[in-house]
Amino acid sequence: MIRIAIKMLMGDKLKYLGLLAGMAFAAMMISQQMSIFLGLSSQTGTFIREMTSADLWVMDPQVRFSEDNIALPDTALQRVRSIEGVENAVPLYKGFLKAQLADGTRTSVIVVGVDDATLQGAPARINDGDATLLRQDPGIIIDDRDMGTKLAYKRAGGKPMQLGDHLSINDHDAVVVGTYHGSPSFFWDPTLYTTYSRALQFAPRERRLMSFVLVKVAAGEDVLAVKRRIEEITGYAARTPVDFENVTKAYILKSTGILINFGIAVGLGFVIGMIVTGQTFFNFTLDNLRYFAALKAMGASSGMLIRMVLSQVLSVTWLSFGLGVGIAAIFGAFLAKTDLAFLMKWQVLALTIGMMLVVGVLAALISLIKVLRLEAGVVFKG
C-alpha cells in the first residue's frame, strides 16, 4: 500500500510539482532565514574568535560586549601576571578612533593595539609577511577586504588604499605596512592593528587605556580554576573566549534590539514556511479524502492509512527539503563573497527538516481525522 500512496502522491505530475515547489519554498525560507540570523548572531563574536592566542580575557566587570570600552588601570596587567597558573599576560587596546585618509575622506576605525614584545593578539592571517611588520614605525595592518571599500579614497573616485599609504589617526600619522584577511564582523567599522604603545599614542589621553588583558594559561593548569583565581584576587572579570562571545551576543540580542527585530523577521519567515508546509499537506490530503475514505471502507486500517500518509509526507518532505536547502545554500555561497551574514549549521538543517516533518504530518493527520473516524457521509458521498 505504500507504493499506492506514493503513486497517489506523484501520479498527477502538475499537482505533485506544485506540492514540491510549495514545500521547497518553505524549506528554503526556513533554512535561509535561520542561517542569516545565525550568521548575524555569530558575527558579533568574530573579533573574540579570531584572537586565538588568549585562553582568558580579563576585563572590567562592567564590560558588556567586545566593543565596550571600559578600560583597566595599567596595574591590572602586573596583578594578573602574578597569579598562579598564568603563563603570560599581555595588554590589548581596542577603541573606536577617528581617521582621515590622504584624500580627506573621514571615517571611524577600530584600532587594536597588540603587545609590543610578543605581538600576541595580532591577526592570524597576515598576507605576505607576519606580525613583525608592525614593528615598522608608524605601521598599521589593515584588512584586505577593506582596501577598496571601507578604506577606499571616496573623495578621489573610490581608489583603493595601497600598501605604503599614509593616513591620519586622531591626527597621528600611520602607514599601511601590511594587510591581513579578516572575517566579516557585526561591527561595521574597519579594524586596524598596530602595537599597543602606538595605539596609546593614537588614542585620546585618558587615565586608563588598557581595554583587556589577554591571558595564556600555563600547561597543565585548569583554565576555569585560573579564571576563578583571577576573579577572586583582582576583582576583575575573567572570561573564556566562549563566555565572552556569549556575553557579547546576549548583550547585542537584548540591548540593541537589532537582532531581536531581525529575529522577528526570521520567526515570521519560519512561521510562513511552516504555514506553507501545513497548508500544502492539508490541502493535498483533503483533495484525496474520498479515496482515503474509500480505502478505509474497503478495510484499510487506520494504521495503514496513517502509514500511507506518513510515507507521502516523508517522501515529499525529503525531496523538497533537499531542493529548498540547496537553493538556500547557493544563496549562502553568493553571500560568502560579501560581508553579509549567513551561517548554515547542521542544527539549521535538522530543525528545518524536523519542523517540516512535524507540521506536514500534523496537517495531513488533521485532514485525515474524518476518515479515521470513518464518517459515513465521507465514505459514501466523498
Binding site: 500500500m1 507504493r3 499506492i4 503513486k7 497517489m8 506523484m10 501520479g11 498527477d12 474520498r290 479515496y291 475514505a293 474509500a294 480505502l295 471502507a297 474497503m298 478495510g299 484499510a300 486500517s301 487506520s302 495503514m304 470513518l374 459515513a376 457521509g377 465514505v379 459514501f380 458521498k381 466523498g382
Partner: protein, 260 residues
C-alpha cells in the same frame, strides 16, 4: 421504540428467500448529534438479506438509506438493535475486527466510483487484495483477470480518466469483487450513468451475484433499474415503509405514471 417494518415478513415466495440469511438486522436505530440538533436517521429498522439476493433500498434523500447500508457494511455503529452480517455482530468484533471483516467479506461500489485517478485500472482493482496483504504481483494478476471478465482486459494499464462513466463503474465493480466478498454494498451505482449503460452495469452486478452466491444491497433513486431487484424496500423518515418484489414495484410505478 418507533414502529418497525419487517422486510422478511412481506417477502415474496421467491426461491431466493429459501436460501440462508446473510444479513439479519432487527430494531436498528441511529441518531446523529445530540439535543435539539439531533437527527434520528434510523428509527427501528428490521431488514434481512438472503445469500444471492439483490435488495434495493429506495426512498427520498435523507430517509436513511446511506445510514442503513453503512450499518450493514460495518462502516457505522448502530445505536440500538441487533445486527448480524454473515453471522458476525460488529459490536462484538470491535473496530479492528470489523475493519478486518470488511476487508475480507464486503465489497463496495460507490456513486462516484472513487477510483484513484493516478493509479492504473489494474492497480485500482488490486487495492482490496493489497489491503488483505496479498503479494503485489499476485494481486495485479488477479486484478487483470477480473478486468478481463468485465471486458476491460485490454485496458489494464490505462488510468480511470481515459474511460467512460460506464467503463469506470465496471472497473469499480471489478474492484468490489476481486477479493471474492460475500456481501456487496452499492451506493447509487447507476446515478452517474445513462440509461443503457446503467442497464449493462446492473446486468453485470446481477450476473455476478447469481454466479457467486453474493448478497447485494443497492441504494438507488433510479426507477429504471428496479427490475433487477429481487426485493425493493422503500424507506422514509428512517423507516422501511413498504417492501415489494422488483417486478411488482415496477408495475406499480408504471400504473402511477399512466394515471397521471
Amino acid at each position: 421504540m418507533d414502529t418497525t417494518n419487517t422486510v422478511a415478513a412481506s417477502a415474496t415466495a421467491s426461491s431466493k428467500l429459501d436460501r440462508p440469511v446473510a444479513v439479519h438486522c432487527k430494531g436498528i436505530t441511529k441518531t446523529y448529534g445530540e439535543g435539539q440538533s439531533a437527527v434520528r436517521a434510523l428509527r427501528g429498522v428490521d431488514v434481512e438479506v438472503r445469500t444471492g439476493e439483490l435488495l434495493m433500498l429506495v426512498g427520498p434523500s435523507g430517509c436513511g438509506k446511506t445510514t442503513l447500508i453503512s450499518v450493514i457494511a460495518g462502516v457505522l455503529d448502530r445505536d440500538e438493535g441487533e445486527c448480524e452480517v454473515l453471522g458476525q455482530d460488529f459490536k462484538k468484533l470491535g473496530p479492528a475486527g470489523t475493519t478486518r471483516f470488511r476487508a475480507k467479506n464486503v465489497g463496495f461500489v460507490f456513486q462516484s466510483f472513487n477510483l484513484i485517478p493516478t493509479l492504473t485500472l489494474a492497480e485500482n482493482v488490486a487495492v482490496p487484495l493489497l489491503i488483505n496483504n496479498v503479494k503485489r504481483s499476485e494481486a495485479l494478476d488477479r486484478a487483470r483477470e477480473m478486468l478481463e471478465k468485465v471486458g476491460l482486459g485490454t485496458r489494464t494499464k490505462d488510468i480511470p480518466s481515459r474511460l467512460s462513466g460506464g467503463q469506470q463503474q465496471r472497473v469499480a465493480i471489478s474492484r468490489a469483487l476481486v477479493h471474492h466478498p460475500k456481501l456487496l454494498v452499492c451506493d447509487e451505482p447507476t446515478s452517474a450513468l445513462d440509461h443503457a449503460t446503467g442497464q449493462k452495469v446492473m446486468e453485470l452486478l446481477r450476473d455476478v451475484a447469481a454466479g457467486n452466491d453474493l448478497s447485494l444491497v443497492v441504494v438507488t433513486h433510479d426507477a429504471r433499474i428496479f427490475e433487477f431487484a429481487d426485493r425493493i424496500a422503500e424507506m422514509d423518515d428512517g423507516r422501511i415503509v413498504k417492501v415489494s418484489t422488483g417486478k411488482g414495484h415496477q408495475h406499480a410505478a408504471h400504473e402511477l405514471s399512466a394515471e397521471k
